[in-house]
Amino acid sequence: MEHATSELVPVVVSQVSYLWLIPLFPLIGATINAVLGWKLQGLFGEKPGQKGGRGKQLVHSIAVTAMAASFAVAVYAFFQLKALPSEDRFLQQTLWNMLTAGRLSVDFAFALDQLSMMMVLIVTGVGTLIHVFSIGYMAEEPAYWRFFSYLNLFIFAMLLLVMGDNFAVMFFGWEGVGLASYLLIAFWYQDKEKAAAGMKAFVVNRFGDFGFIVGLMLLFWGLGGAWQARPGVLRNTSYTPSAELNTMAAATTAAQSAALAPPVHGVKVGPTMNFRELRDQVVIEATGVKEHLVNSTVWGVSLLTLIGMLLFVGAMGKSAQLPLYVWLPDAMAGPTPVSALIHAATMVTAGVYMVARLNFLFVLSPSAMGWVALIGAVTAIFAASIGFFQYDIKKVLAYSTVSQLGFMFIGVGTGAYWAGVYHLLTHAFFKATLFLGSGSVILGCHHEQDMRKMGGLQKYMPVTRWTYLIATVAIAGFPVANGFFSKDEILWKAFTSHHLALFGTPTPWLGPAIYVIGLIAATGTSFYMYRSYYMTFTGEYRGDTGHGDAHAAVAHAPAAAAKVAHAPAAHGHADAHAAPAHGAHAAAPHDEHDEPDAHDDAHGGHHGGVPHESPWQITVVLAILAAGSVLTLFLGIPMLWSHVPPVLEHWLEPVLLAEVHWPEMPHAMEWLFQGLGVLAATVGFVAARAVYKDNRNEQALLAMIERWKGVWTTVFNKYYVDELYAAVVIAPFQALSRGLSWFDGRILDGLVNLAGTVTRFVASIDGAIDRYLVDGAVNAVASITQGAGRSLRHLQTGRIQTYLYGALGGALVVVLVNFLLP
């Protein structure tokens, strides 16, 4: 619960001038392809749908070159960083002052420390590989240029996210990746379902952003102004602008703004958006900031807990945790490289990165940590359970991603920051491998994603099969690949943590409980991954003929799935993941430049044949990533084995300086738990093998499904969460909006029109009074006056006399008013 050393010093900054190049290259690539890509692609008189033409070469050369250049600069930066003393590894570059208003001063600045360096290397490295993969995978795509432009744009945004020196730049990236993700999920926008998936991703993420923004504001406020003088209670109803808000904080330039924050012990103190400044003032206890933050409460809740949890809401959105995970499975509508890059390796880890980046804050609030870890654990097991019964290979991987992200949050939640980050890294490799492997399979099986129609692919796609297997071993957690080391560290730390809390009071049982949940989830992970492996690669190929039985097995499955089964393979395009979309998809031309004839011709050769191995761009990338999945295990060899701290932990230590107090545990116990981890993986593996290997126990499976039909249906339908959202969130929103719109148009505007109508009505009454009422009154008066001498037959008077009555009556009124007035 304390920082590693109490004599922490401010970070020493090395100013460099090339950091901006890292995001710049992808930005240039994105811009060129966005603006000129279409022209370039057609430059050599090629049709848009044509496969791998020279125009397309130009397009992907630009994109890949940009990525490679970016990666090269990142590697250069890595070596420069490495050359620095480990405590002072901090490269920084300020480009310009973005905005200054009072104490809020934000620079457009980049920084690289050990953590962001790692992220940059993953993003650019894995990113480059996936770009290369895409060359093969997207070869037939008419809107090739658009794809690469989006992909580069994503990398640019992701680099802003991880390299941002402050919350603002990070948030630029945060939302930028959301945009890129939206664009890529909805890449085949002519399919409304896919477009809707993109929209869903963006909007759900906005829920997270809402929490993120509020958390950020709370943090900014918590650090704000003359905080010593202010009790930790927010004013929210009565308006009392205070002097320090109004006067002292009025700064116009960055320099003035900086001058407002008095340095305390050499550290700038006060509200800041800058990570480094934040870290300095919080971790250096002499400033008193930490004390202030810990003691502050808002609405009766610890300020830090609230900040932590709100920021975590942001992470929930981006990193697909309960209950905001719903967009991620749908995001599989995007092309598979996108799934690999964005929805597995990089973007979805942004939340983990953020929590790790703010470790010094989270560690101050056991409750926030507890919730993060708990939600991570619940997500892990929840998503894993859904993954059990999915038939869409990408869906399985999607739920697996959600589940693995849960593991990462267990890590960063319990305080095992390096373990969480390490899992992030390992996951980037094995999940990228798996996704790309699945992409390769899909390509090989002519855009089929249903595992029931695969099988036996080990014969046709050896490279894909082996890389997929390696990655499966890694994710399942056998100690021969990287996944074991990261997951095991996380679970061990979870078990041994006694400092977590939920409602402000320490809850020692929480750590072990999370451990148990995590272990079960790990077993499940192993099971569904091997299940997918066996269903896909073993047994006989069921693509053309062998699917009848499987189909019968799921006769009670949703009708849409059945339809898919009946309409195999005859689809024009790459990832046709979403079962209900299939029918529509088949007919939809995919791009504005699409010419259906040419398109079908280009595909003609593929359809209906046996599966085939993918082109070299794909297999090479798969091989590299699979190798990475194994080799990165060396970054995390446990101390138990090697008696030195794991390489990555050591590397990250200056950044992830918030160390929690782990109790000393006997080595034997650690060994035991590692054994338990392996056992869990083995159990999953054995179970999957027993049921799915070579498709041999199909009957038993069917019987089981029949028996647990209710449960099966519930899980198969993903616990009806989407339906729940529709009923609980979307429907009320729409109803409210319709209601308010009605109110606005009918009531409010009606009132305005009513005012006009009333005015005109009064005007007409006014006329009517003259016409009828005065006449009538006059008639009455006349009848009385005339009644004396004349007959009642002649009642009417002339108009002029009406006027006179009015005039005299008016005069009378005026006289009376004279007296009525005091």
């Binding site: 006329g767 108009r799 002029i800």
Partner: protein, 102 residues
Amino acid sequence: MQISLSHFLAVGALLFSFGLVTVATRRNAVGVLMGVELILNGANINFAAFNHYVVGGISGQIFALFVIVLAAAEAAVGLAIVLAVFQTFKTIDVRAADLMRE
């Protein structure tokens, strides 16, 4: 019985009221004009009476004289107009003149 200011004023007020009632109720335009004359003469009586009882001098009398002159002029103009009304409407019933309404 001593005739005092009050009596004159009462007569004046009565004339004024009769004038108003006449104007307001007569259908005959000439009758209406006569009502106007009554009103004016009510005022005249007041002027003369006030002059005699309250003010002194001749200012009220002179006022009344002017009013009489003007009343004659007004009657002339009024009758000319009534004549025009008769020529146009073939009646001097003031009810006839209600062409213009709101």
